[in-house]
């Protein structure tokens, strides 16, 4: 049993290397761009390329496709260290969804065209799954791709497609055979985001993040952009979930926030006393520290299973479940500690912690809904982990 992130001198050296790199290259502005999801500005893009240049985005990929080999352990160390510094894996859709699917199922041509550029941090993908009729029930999607000569003609509407407005490519799930067996109706495509016929309309979330409605009007996509085989998209999407587990929710991210709250409490007086001396404040912050650590320990279990070569069957879902629910409590409890001051947005006078708490309250609301709602995760976990019946 070992709860250390690194267990050999080589792993520790790698972790230190990543840490040193981040100390130099990761600025507050880049952190802001990462967390706001409004699209990466030039600083964050440049940061992507620098990480890519270190070979860190291609960890675990074959060198012939621009990867740097290396094991899962190193990838996990990288992700954890980025989270510790409050940075993000640039473009998880490219790295953990599109990339692995192309690697495993794409044509040689497709692999050569996309993987090296993903590994270098040069291109970004946006996820194109959800539609107005298809949220938790993805199979209810209606966007249609019809074969015509050397192309597929695609028509339909996607919604809650985040990142489309700045990504190079749309990782698109479409129905190519709606009459087929349930699991063989969907195909995956790599679509140029600036292809003629695509219209993007912004939707602004409570969290201040931009997501989009995307309209496809007779968009012509070359057949070479079909990922793997036609009608096998659903299987590829399920397979991709194995990798997505790495990008799920980094609990490490919570600790610096709690730390900032502790420091705030040490410096702030209210009603005649330092917040740090108020037993209620201490109790709340302690509870946050307890819950963050519990989430961390469950995350470590999943990571340990991954490193061991097992598939964390239900653990990844649980991490997202508890991480997102904790994140909401973090927002509410922090609001309680900051009182009126927690209401203040970033650009207001008197806003403590750069308005972070108000933003956390708002941006944590979608987290229990998207990427697997808490309810769906509970349904699925009941079946997978406990063998409870579907009906």
């Amino acid at each position: 049993m070992n709860f250390n992130l690194t267990t050999t001198p080589e792993e520790e050296a790698f972790r230190q290397e990543v840490s040193d790199f981040l100390e130099v290259e990761l600025t507050d502005e880049i952190r802001r761009q990462h967390s706001l999801d409004k699209g990466l500005g030039p600083e964050a893009r440049e940061f992507n390329r620098k990480i890519g240049a270190k070979g860190w985005l291609g960890l675990g990929w074959p060198e012939e496709y621009g990867g740097s080999g290396g094991s899962l352990r190193y990838e996990i160390i990288l992700i954890q260290e980025l989270a510790r510094h409050e940075a993000r894996i640039p473009n998880t859709v490219a790295r953990y969804l599109a990339g692995p699917a192309i690697l495993h199922f794409g044509s040689e041509e497709m692999k050569k065209e996309f993987l090296p550029r993903i590994a270098k941090g040069e291109i970004e993908f946006a996820l194109g799954y959800t539609e107005p009729p298809a949220g938790s029930d993805l199979m209810a999607m209606q966007m249609r791709a019809v074969e015509e000569g050397d192309f597929f003609i695609i028509n339909g509407t996607k919604i809650f497609n985040t990142g489309c407005h700045f990504s190079d490519y749309h990782w698109l799930a479409v129905k190519t055979d709606p009459a087929a067996h349930r699991l063989q109706q969907i195909s995956l495509f790599v679509v140029d985001m600036d292809a003629p016929g695509i219209e993007i309309r912004p939707l602004w979330t409570l969290g201040g993040e931009r997501t989009n409605e995307v309209y496809y009007d007779n968009v012509k996509v070359p057949k070479s952009r079909l990922v793997g085989e036609k009608n096998q998209g659903f299987l590829y999407m399920v397979h991709a979930l194995n990798y997505e587990r790495l990008a799920v929710y980094q609990i490490e991210r919570f600790f610096p926030v709690i730390n900032r709250l502790v420091n705030y409490a040490k410096e702030t007086k209210r009603n005649g006393a330092l917040l740090a001396d108020d037993p209620m404040v201490r109790n709340k912050l302690a509870q946050l520290a307890v819950e963050a650590e519990v989430c961390k320990c469950i995350e470590y279990k999943a990571l340990a299973l991954l490193i061991d070569g097992s598939i964390p069957d239900y653990e990844a879902g649980i991490i997202k479940l508890i991480g997102s629910e904790f994140y909401q409590r973090l927002g509410y409890m922090s609001m309680e500690v900051l009182n009126h001051f927690g209401l203040l947005e970033e650009d207001s006078d008197w806003a403590p912690l750069m308005g972070e708490i108000s933003r956390i309250c708002r941006s944590s609301v979608p987290d229990t809904i998207g990427a697997g709602s808490s309810e769906i995760i509970r349904n699925v976990t009941a079946m997978r982990a406990l063998g409870l019946p579907r009906k």
Partner: protein
């Protein structure tokens, strides 16, 4: 990162499970609630022969010389079957106290008897106005001649009626943490009167009245006036082991509940098909997973000799909250059958209440966590690189 138990730990878990399944059915647990002693000599000797009582006592003192993680694994199995009797008092409270504070000759004198099962021990700490709080302890120890005279009443002393030795924390000087001395007291001294406290858990907790109890000065455990630090260590480690007990109970409860959900039919289907039931069960699973890994991490840190104070308190604070929910949700899923006393779940419920209070409730431990994060910051230190 590795969550696997070692081969030795796995073997211990498996053999403990088999032994306890066979020798500690819930009917025994019920019997022992009514029984005056609260344990059977047969089972006690059985555990002694397996080396369990001396599991973490070094071999030179007759123990098995295993580590804290192994004891944690064993404790989980004991919690699974709600093992009654003075194991925790003797092996944990007594064993850890002697290991922590005893001089070489005291260890030589007392540990073999503990390890061999001949000597039962308990720890008398709490009082009417003092719960795990050295500053307010009032049971006094006054120096007289070649020893001390103890006076006062301790409460919630586990298994005092069968203890051959009672470790009593008493005030020797005025002051906060200083001024407490830990004494090795003969449990059969006629000046000590014990009276059973009837608790919700049916566990054997006692009022212990010390009236002019004379204790020779060799029976000071550790240094005079320095009793609190070793007691604090014992409390922290005991808190983690109590978490292990709760995890063991929680694991069995989860299994019982999932099994029931797959078997019980209403409205033409198994109730496990209803989402409300599914969500209750998953919430139990998630709470239990949290308990397991946060407590085992604390146990690992203790086992490896790392600073563990914050983690131990995080574990107990969490397990208290989470185990409460696990038991409560089990009751919801099991419905009527689960609150009839014949069923095992009420036994777990009762013992869960006692487990919450033991060695610090959530508020107590959150205070410690707060002190830690306000002193050292809230960043998880392990993740800053290997702790040396």
């Amino acid at each position: 990162m590795d969550i696997r138990l070692s081969e030795e730990q796995e073997m211990l878990r498996n053999s403990a499970r088999r032994f306890l399944e066979k020798n500690c059915p819930s009917s025994l647990v019920r019997e022992m609630v009514e029984d005056e002693m609260g344990y059977t000599e047969e089972l006690w000797q059985g555990m002694a022969e397996l080396g369990w009582i001396g599991l973490i006592i070094p071999e030179e003192y007759g123990g098995v010389g295993m580590g804290f993680l192994e004891l944690t694994v064993l404790m989980e199995e004991m919690g699974r079957v709600m093992l009654p009797g003075p194991f925790f008092s003797t092996a944990v409270l007594g064993g850890l106290a002697f290991l922590q504070a005893g001089s070489a000759s005291q260890k030589k004198e007392y540990l073999p008897g503990i390890a061999g099962g001949q000597m039962k021990v308990t720890l008398a700490l709490n009082e009417a106005e003092s719960i795990y709080d050295p500053g307010s302890m009032a049971v006094s120890a006054v120096e007289e001649g070649e020893g001390f005279v103890l006076n006062g009443t301790k409460l919630f002393v586990p298994d005092a009626h069968v203890a051959d030795t009672i470790l009593c924390a008493a005030r020797t000087d005025q002051g906060i943490e200083d001024g407490i001395t830990l004494f090795v007291v003969d449990g059969k001294d006629p000046s000590i009167r014990t009276k059973l406290l009837k608790t919700i858990a049916g566990d054997k907790q006692f009022e212990v009245v010390f009236h002019e109890v004379r204790v020779p000065k060799e029976n000071v455990l550790g240094q005079p006036g320095q009793g609190w630090p070793p007691i604090k260590t014992v409390l922290q480690k005991s808190a983690v082991l109590k978490c292990a007990e709760m995890i063991g109970g929680g694991q069995r409860i989860l299994e019982m509940t999932a099994a029931y959900a797959k078997e019980r039919e209403q409205f033409g289907r198994k109730i496990g098909a209803f989402q409300a039931i599914q969500h209750h069960c998953v919430n139990m699973l998630v709470d239990l997973e949290g308990c397991r890994w946060v407590a085992y991490k604390a146990a690992w840190m203790i086992h490896e000799g790392m600073p563990y104070e914050k983690q131990a308190s995080i574990a107990k604070a969490w397990c208290n909250q989470a185990y409460r929910r696990v038991v409560a949700l089990a009751h919801q899923v099991l419905g009527g059958v689960g609150y009839i006393e014949e069923h095992d779940l009420p036994l777990y419920f009762r013992r869960a209440r006692a487990a919450e209070a033991a060695f610090g409730d959530a508020d107590y431990h959150r205070k410690i966590v707060a002190d830690q994060i306000f002193t050292h910051g809230a960043i998880d230190r392990i993740q800053q690189g290997n702790i040396q």
